[in-house]
Amino acid sequence: MTTERRFNLGFLTSSKGEKRKVRGSKYRKFNLLVLLAAFTPMAAVGLFNVALDPYGVFDTTTVAGINQSKPRKGNNDRLFKATDIIRIKPATLLFGSSRTRQGLDPTYAALKDKQPAYNLGLNGANPYEQLRYLEHAIANNKNLKTVIIGIDFFMFNAYNENQPGFTEDRLEKQSISLQDTINVVFSIDALSSSLETLNSSRNPQNQEGDSLKGFMPYKNIDLGKKVTDWRFVNSYQVYFKNHAKYQLSEKYIADFKSFVETCKKHGITLKVYISPGHATDNEAIRATGHWATQEKWKREIVKIVPVWDFSGYNSITSEPIKEGMKNYADSSHYRENIGNLILNRVLNYQSNKVPKDFGVLITPENIESHLAKINANREAWAKNNQKEAKLVQDIKRKFDRGN
């Protein structure tokens, strides 16, 4: 065997060997060319993606007309908010779903003495995802002082699983993960996002650019009647599609409890509130047959922590659906001015500007009378707003037929 394995160095100098050597160098050049042809475009794409930074993870300088407006950030909040937290190390965090994301402004005056504040609202977040982002934030900043979280009934739906964009891999780390880096630099997805960024940034309407503090309200919102109607109808449909099937998750309630306890353990001041969905948002819950489940959810939550409840049928949520609405973008999302009122109430800042019926602190002591009051308000609302109540029911019937 050893003889077989001994090299025959002789052939390299034979004439046959010469020919082999020449051909070998031809292939050597070919291989270099192949590598060049493979890696030049990759390097170009990589550089382009880093320069435009379409997901906002590298803190690259933004240049007006090139990359100040990054539309793909919208669907990738779990990615860029994790890296923002690492960089900004906020003292105040605003948690919640897209309702918080679109409604609470971290630069609002009520938060003036609590800076740097950051909006950590995540699209469709469930309590587990939020708990993990809280742990991520604490791992990156021991001086986190204030947390305000807007919770919603839909979050606690057992079917509201972690989103595909969620990954443990990037959390509780002090830098962006290797996999995330590769994905946002060397991928066709990132390339198309960069092109979209370029395109969007050239549009004069988007001159202003994105908030760098996680706050993402509707941009250039069209408040015309037709578009407003469409947005409301669409948001009922989205609700039915994702939450017609609902099961109150005990695990998520336990995750929320851990969230509260984690804040306590780290000496973080915590304010919890239930978001004010539009009155018809309550009607959508009712149409799925889960109104009582929602009441049960509130009873469970107050056992854990006192909660500011802004939901129900009050002077803010019962704004009629019409053109030029002031309080709502759609049935799910309140607008920034309402977000300010929420902050006023929970932080006891200029409370006199907040309508009296907007925001009730509920505890195990007053929960039953509070729920009874909402039901009474609902009777009155339904009598005066038959058209809106019927609209939601019709959409639910249509949805059921479609399934």
């Binding site: 090299f7 070998g24 291989n31 994905n183 390339l191």
Partner: protein, 496 residues
């Protein structure tokens, strides 16, 4: 580690290559062989280190038995006893890890099933990666040792033959006679730019088949197969064809990558796919699809069963048995067994027809073969037999033939011929390409042309010339594939 991952392409592969050729350069041949064996074991253990003891024990036992068998006189009684022992060991290992659950769940008496389940804890068994492949390879080694056809191999060579990472996970199933001698040739240890070029080209072709074609077809498959009873004529065909092509481009792409990796190390692995969808008969199909498995089944099952030497009736029986077991090898489930049985029947019909000596026109022969193969893939992929029957009925038009179109449109005349029209938007299980369902059909047509008209990877490789054109074509393909490997997973339902 998957071949189609950055960690493999940019970390594992360069380190393994560098180590191998560095040791080789200094004529440290044993170290070079040891290095690549070690790397292969790491490659295997990277998935789940818990699997490592299983493959290591399997190799040790088989090597030990193989040496004892070849030391005994060929075909002697002692050799035979040892061979049976080895077969029992390998099949018991495979049986426990791959089939225990399946057999227990099919036992007729629940009390017995529960007892065995409790004793063996079958529900918690996790299938070790590649066990079907390395078991088969080693059975072949034992049988050949018994036949006196093995040479003396040392243990490291033997381990390398089993674990050599390019072929370990998904084939080609290599034969010891093909690879072990290659580990002993001086040429193997000399970096060859030509082989490197061919290897890179082959790897790239395979990678692009997997990443650019198969991975894009894969999301089209599940919606159809998960809603078997709701599919109409077109939806069923789109589902079945998508799977037919996904499986081919995925599996043959992976084999191409394996062959390419082998070439980089100057090791030639057997061709595993030769344009199977160009086959004009079922036996032709099996000479082109997963060739190394077909060869294995032929040499170590069909021929030992008697092959065609014991009369026509036995021959048909042997074909059926071989294919039924071949089906079971693919997975522990009835649909796989039925799929194998169906192909066994196809082969019998194929053989009987050939006896008649009336060859069909080529196009007709291809069409019948391809349809038979697609129908069998439906069984292979479906969750269960009733689901498969639903899809096959829809494809056969037994649930009505539906064409895309509006009831009032130009195609309305078709309704007179019993063809129903349905608008695209009502076909829920047809995927969209750029928001357009009609484009999906265009894509499937293009893929059909790729699979049935274009030269396959091996044929392309033979044409490769070391010039600018080829370099740019291969390089660009590699670039596109590498950039398509990574995805940014986005939020699914917008704004809530």
């Amino acid at each position: 580690m998957l071949f189609n991952s950055y960690i493999f392409i940019f970390v594992f592969l360069p380190i393994t290559l560098l180590g191998f050729f560095t040791f080789s350069r200094f004529r440290l041949i044993h170290l070079a062989v040891g290095w690549i064996t070690l790397c292969s074991v790491i490659f295997y253990g990277y998935w789940n280190p818990a699997y490592l003891p299983i493959i290591l024990i399997s190799m040790a036992v088989n090597y030990f038995l193989g040496v004892r068998i070849s030391n005994a006189k060929a075909m002697s009684k002692k050799a035979k006893t040892l061979l049976w022992l080895g077969l029992f060991f390998n099949l018991a290992l495979l049986g426990y890890y791959k089939y225990a659950n399946f057999f227990v769940s099919n036992l007729p008496f629940p009390a017995i099933a529960n007892f065995i389940e409790a004793q063996l804890n079958t529900k918690s068994i996790v299938l070790p990666l590649a066990i079907s492949f390395f078991t088969f390879q080693q059975i072949a080694y034992l049988v050949d040792a018994y036949r006196g056809e093995t040479k003396e191999y040392n243990f490291v060579d033997y381990c390398l033959f089993v674990t050599f990472f390019p072929q370990l996970i998904a084939g080609p199933i290599v034969h010891h006679k093909e690879v072990i001698p290659q580990f002993r040739k001086a040429r193997t240890f000399l970096l060859s730019h030509k082989n490197l070029a061919l290897g890179i080209a082959m790897f790239t072709l395979g990678l692009s088949k997997k990443v650019l074609i198969a991975d894009n077809l894969s999301p089209w498959v599940a919606p159809a197969f998960n809603h078997a009873s709701e599919l109409n004529f077109i939806e069923a065909w789109v589902g079945a064809l998508s799977y037919t092509y996904q499986l081919y481009f995925d599996f043959s792409g992976y084999s191409d990558m394996a062959i390419g990796l082998g070439l980089m190390f100057n090791v030639r692995l057997s061709m595993n796919f030769n344009s199977p969808y160009k086959a004009t008969s079922i036996s032709d199909f099996w000479r082109r699809w997963h060739i190394t498995l077909s060869n294995f089944l032929r040499d170590y099952l069909y021929i030992p069963l008697g092959g065609s030497r014991r009369g026509e009736i036995r021959r048909y029986g042997n074909l059926l048995i071989t294919m039924l077991l071949g089906g079971l090898w693919h997975g522990a489930g009835w649909t796989f067994v039925i799929w194998g049985g169906l192909h066994g029947m196809y082969l019998c019909i194929n053989h009987a027809w050939r006896q008649l000596n009336k060859p069909l026109p080529k196009f007709l022969a291809w069409t019948i073969t391809f349809l038979a193969v697609i129908a069998a893939w439906v069984l292979f992929r479906a969750k269960n037999l009733p689901d498969a029957m639903e899809i096959l009925q829809a494809m056969a038009g037994m649930k009505g033939i539906v064409f895309p179109g509006e009831a009032q449109g130009k195609l309305a005349i078709l309704t007179q011929f019993g063809i129903q029209l349905q608008s695209w938007k009502d076909m829920a299980y047809i995927p969209e390409v750029n928001g357009n369902k009609a484009l999906t059909l265009v894509v499937l047509a293009l893929v059909t042309i790729c699979a049935t008209k274009l030269p396959n990877s091996e044929e392309m490789l033979k044409k490769l010339k070391p010039n600018w054109g080829w370099a740019i074509w291969i390089g660009a393909l590699a670039s596109l594939s590498l950039l398509s490997l990574n995805r940014v997973s986005e939020f699914l339902y917008f704004q809530f």
